[in-house]
């Protein structure tokens, strides 16, 4: 799994950071998502997928590990 974010889209809802604090944090200034790990460990994949689905502005992009070459 490879994660990326679109900080410009993020509205700081904090859903990702509440759901998976190991992977997502938020900037103290503007609440924007901060990605702590672009390659989350296997046991968090499901939670990360779910967090990406919760994001109200689709700012979290999940790619399978083998698409990262593009």
């Amino acid at each position: 799994m490879h994660l990326s974010i679109e900080p410009d889209a993020c509205v700081g809802s904090g859903q990702c950071a509440l759901a998976v604090p190991e992977i997502f944090d938020q900037d103290d200034e503007d609440g924007t998502v901060v990605l702590l790990d672009e390659q989350p460990p296997q046991d968090l994949h499901e939670a990360v997928h779910e967090a990406a689905g919760l994001c109200p502005v689709q700012a979290i992009l999940v790619a399978a590990a083998d698409d990262t070459a593009r």
Binding site: G12, Q15, P21, D25, Q26, D27, G31
Partner: protein, 396 residues
């Protein structure tokens, strides 16, 4: 031509939204709707389309175009006036973006998690007072209203010495019995008070969100006071209703309450399920296209009011299995109790912390908590913009 329906308001029971919404969702998830002033706009009821519409920024949230789908005493359904300073809920990008960024940093998941000890202390004190007074008592007055109201004081930084005065004014503001003149005076006093909290340097009385915003220096004093009133307004009844209705739902579903008691690890999901099931924003959220927009085979014309129904989306069998059942073990992801898109609730993680903390503490302290009146005598607030109960008489 068939007559165009208005937004339904009559509930068959306290927990389920009006039955018409389910029928509309199944037959015609985007349909015409008549507003109280005669305007013919739209009602969106399916989960998929509600999500799609709220994610689409061609639909404006500006208050000068908004209409309430149901008339409330004394309020014009057509808002017609531009956003007040600081009221980001009534703005579009980029004005919305600027305010949202300023505020979101103060509402991060981390900060909200760190508020847990304050929430616990507030809840503990209220439970002590209830125990001392003894039942029966009104849980709305003794618990559901003071929790959010004291939390907002913590958050905004209202000093202890001034909390009673602050509470008194917000009570008048939200009271059904206050006249329009009393409400407007209370609002003026709150505004004055919030301007004081936001004042810079030595003139201000405390440190809290408003003081931090003043120190950031991006928002002017009027915007900061407006933000304060918006947070108070947006967070007060919604959280209070969620606490009292959740209690009512738990008492009406003893098997779910038992699950929660046996396994506290399901608390977080139980709170999401309560938010979904109760959908206290029962008249949905308003949007308006500022240009003609083709949406799912319909032409939404410029200026036509749209209501996106949160309760209908949250009971959509296309997203949730057996949606009318309260089930703490279900997958709750994707519920729309806090809306969707750029305006999704700013206070959502505060509410989550309040509910996750307050509800288990209440049932732990009073394990025999029960209604003090027959369920049909609990007065429901079906005509208020936030759904809830006016009173919840309980005993233990």
């Amino acid at each position: 031509m068939t007559a165009i329906d208005t937004h339904p308001t009559v509930r068959q029971n306290p927990f389920d939204p009006p039955a018409e919404l389910a029928k509309y969702r199944a037959d015609e998830p985007v349909r015409r709707m008549r507003y109280p002033d005669g305007h013919v706009g739209w009602l969106v009821t399916s989960h998929a389309l509600a999500r799609k519409l709220l994610a689409d920024q061609r639909f404006s949230a500006r208050s000068e175009f908004k209409r309430a789908p149901v008339s409330r005493p004394g309020a014009d359904p057509f808002y017609g006036a531009p956003a007040l300073p600081g009221w980001l809920v009534d703005m579009d990008a980029p004005e919305h973006t600027r305010l949202r960024q300023q505020l979101a940093g103060k509402f991060t998941a981390r900060r909200m998690r760190e508020m847990r000890p304050q929430i616990e202390r507030i809840v503990e004190d209220l439970l002590d007072a209830m125990a001392e007074r003894g039942g029966p008592l009104d849980l709305v007055e003794s618990f559901a209203l003071p929790v959010p109201s004291l939390m907002i004081c913590e958050l905004l930084g209202v000093p202890y010495s001034e909390r009673a005065e602050f509470q008194r004014n917000s009570e008048i503001l939200f009271s059904l019995n206050a006249t329009a003149a009393e409400a407007s005076e209370a609002m003026d006093r709150l505004y004055g008070f919030l301007r004081g909290l936001a004042a810079s340097g030595s003139t201000r009385t405390a440190d809290g969100l408003l003081a931090m915003l003043a120190d950031d220096g991006t928002l002017d004093a009027e915007e900061i006071a407006g933000v304060g009133v918006l947070l108070l307004t947006a967070g007060h009844e919604s959280t209070s209703s969620s606490l009292s209705l959740s209690t009512l739902a738990l008492l009406a579903h003893p098997e779910q309450l038992a699950l929660l008691r046996e396994d506290p690890s399901i608390t977080d999901n139980a709170v999401e399920e309560l938010l979904r099931y109760l959908s206290v924003f029962h008249f949905g959220v308003p949007r308006t296209p500022l240009e003609d927009v083709e949406f799912e085979g319909h032409l939404f014309r410029t200026g036509e009011s749209i209501t996106v129904s949160i309760p209908a989306a949250n009971r959509d069998p296309g997203w949730f299995e057996d949606p009318d059942r309260l089930d703490f073990t279900r997958k709750t992801a994707g519920h729309m109790a806090f809306g969707f898109g750029i305006h999704q609730c700013l206070g959502q993680n505060l509410v989550r912390m309040e509910m996750r903390t307050a509800l288990p503490m209440l049932f732990r302290r009073f394990p025999t908590l029960a209604l003090a009146v027959p369920p049909e005598e609990v007065p429901l607030a079906t005509d208020m913009s936030v759904y809830g109960v006016h009173r919840l008489p309980v005993t233990w």
